[in-house]
């Protein structure tokens, strides 16, 4: 492990911190332009964060330490994922400590922390939002685990760097049936997990439909800034994961040169920008799904993930 790999891993965390609000801003801007509005600009989420960070700290009466630490746990777990996973270089020093299953576990740690905080406030909206969020999370988790299992079969390992380098050495497997099915299942799951359309509408505060927003309704000031920052980072990290699992080209190797790290940074920026743009453009054309239809969508994605496992496990031709 070279010193540069450690520097690259640290750089990954900084880039996710700085880039996540820009990803959200870019998606809002794409959406605004497609709907014929001027939009607030790509930097608007950063300006919002700065405004909220300057505000006074307010804690609702009767809330406990659960409410106070939840934003930090959500942000911290996402940053830990950013340090573990290969974003623009493969040889992160933390890489051997957690595989893809560990990353999924860390993601759900953040979800559970915010859910408990929603319950802790004791308000009607907080409880309702938490109940909805945990319903969706419970349906999402088996799908993610199955899709991860399907992806780990060709590389013979659930370690993220091993999966990515297996795809780099054998580019044809991206177009195999199991991989395509796992891709579709993961896209649906990422949409559900980050609360985008058609599962949840991130830009509304209508009490009948909101899920994530209802859960964090009691937060204000710096804590709200942290919650929003964490959800932007979660979206960025998941998009990066999607890009690197299925389109890993351009990523720097385990022992990179400075030029390779720079190239990896440019490659992942382009890939995430394209994925985010496609997601935002797709959202213009769809309406939010009724809450009671969401389990249908998630059962469908679960089935696709299951088919991905069977396809890559049973159908795959023996390579020897």
């Amino acid at each position: 492990m070279s010193a540069l790999a450690v520097v690259a891993a640290a750089l990954q965390v900084v880039c996710v911190l700085a880039g996540a609000p820009l990803v959200v801003g870019g998606m809002r801007q794409v959406r605004a332009r497609l709907e014929g509005r001027a939009g607030g600009g790509v930097g608007q989420p950063w300006r919002d964060l700065r405004k909220q960070l300057r505000k006074q700290q307010i804690t609702p009466r009767g809330t406990t330490v659960v409410f106070a630490v939840a934003p930090a746990i959500a942000a911290g777990s996402t940053l830990l994922i950013a340090a573990i996973m290969p974003i623009f270089a493969l040889g992160s020093p933390l890489d051997s400590t957690a595989d893809l299953f560990g990353v999924v576990g860390l993601l759900f740690l953040g979800t559970v922390a915010l859910t408990l905080a929603g319950l802790d406030t004791g308000t009607a909206f907080g409880g309702m939002g938490s109940s909805r969020e945990i319903t969706i999370a419970a349906l999402v988790e088996p799908t993610i685990l199955l899709a991860v299992f399907a992806l780990s079969i060709p590389g013979q390992s659930a370690n993220l760097a091993a999966i990515v380098s297996a795809t780099l050495h054998n580019p044809g497997q991206v177009l195999s049936l199991g991989s395509v099915l796992a891709f579709v299942a993961l896209v649906i799951v990422i949409i559900a997990e980050t609360g985008r359309l058609p599962v949840d509408n991130p830009s509304t505060h209508l009490e009948l439909t909101m899920i994530h927003e209802a859960m964090v309704l009691e937060y204000a000031g710096p804590k709200l800034a942290l919650v929003e920052w964490a959800s932007a980072m979660r979206l960025t990290v998941l998009l990066t994961l999607l890009a690197n699992l299925f389109l890993p080209w351009g990523i720097a190797g385990a022992d990179p040169s400075p030029l390779a790290v720079l190239l990896g940074l440019v490659a992942i920026t382009v890939k995430v920008a394209m994925l985010a743009g496609a997601l935002a453009a797709g959202e213009v054309f769809i309406a939010k799904l009724r809450y009671f239809r969401v389990p249908e969508l998630l059962a469908g994605s679960f089935l696709l993930a299951l088919l991905a496992v069977t396809a890559s496990y049973f159908l795959a031709t023996p390579t020897h």
């Binding site: 195999s176 049936l177 089935l303 299951l306 088919l307 069977t310 049973f314």
Partner: protein
Amino acid sequence: MMTQATYAGVLDLTVGAFLLAAVLIVWRRELSSIVHLLAWQGAALAAIPLAEGIYRGDAGPIVVGVVVLVLRAGALPVLLLQAVGTADTERRESTPLVNTTSSLLITAGLTILAYAVTRPIIALNPAPATRAVPAAFAVILIAVFVMVSRRRALSQAVGFLMLDNSITATAFLITGGVPLIVELGASLDVLFAVFVLGVLTSRMRRTFGGTDLDQLRELRD
């Protein structure tokens, strides 16, 4: 000509598309999109003998494949589309006996079951075609499930055609090709069944004003 690896890859992709079409038929409610999916499934079915004919350099399977393509991806879906009603209540499978979420989970269970029960068949001869048998077998089980869980006459007909597609696919995969005359006979049978079903559906609609088979269980005067 293609190599063995390409042949195995093409076979996996076709059988996967075949299974995926069955799953999407369970998922969707619009009758017209169900019929379109059935056409795609027919095309995937036709690709199995076509790939085999090209791989072996044999004209027989290619002819069978072309016949299957014309009939299952062309003629039968067109006939079924004509039977889709124009009334709003007739265009959707609005209330299946089992709701969509449970249907999808049952489909997942049936797929696993198919893989479990076809293990001895794969063990007999682990060739690429035999390894794809479980997927075709899963579609047989899914088709039976669609037939028993839907209310509209048309979606039950789609279930029946899916059952026939999957039995044909299993035959192609296990025997490595069905004689042309057998395939022709079976296909003609299915064609006439669909003719009769189409006529029956339109007469049902004219007489009773709907094709919900559950309302036709008891006698009335």
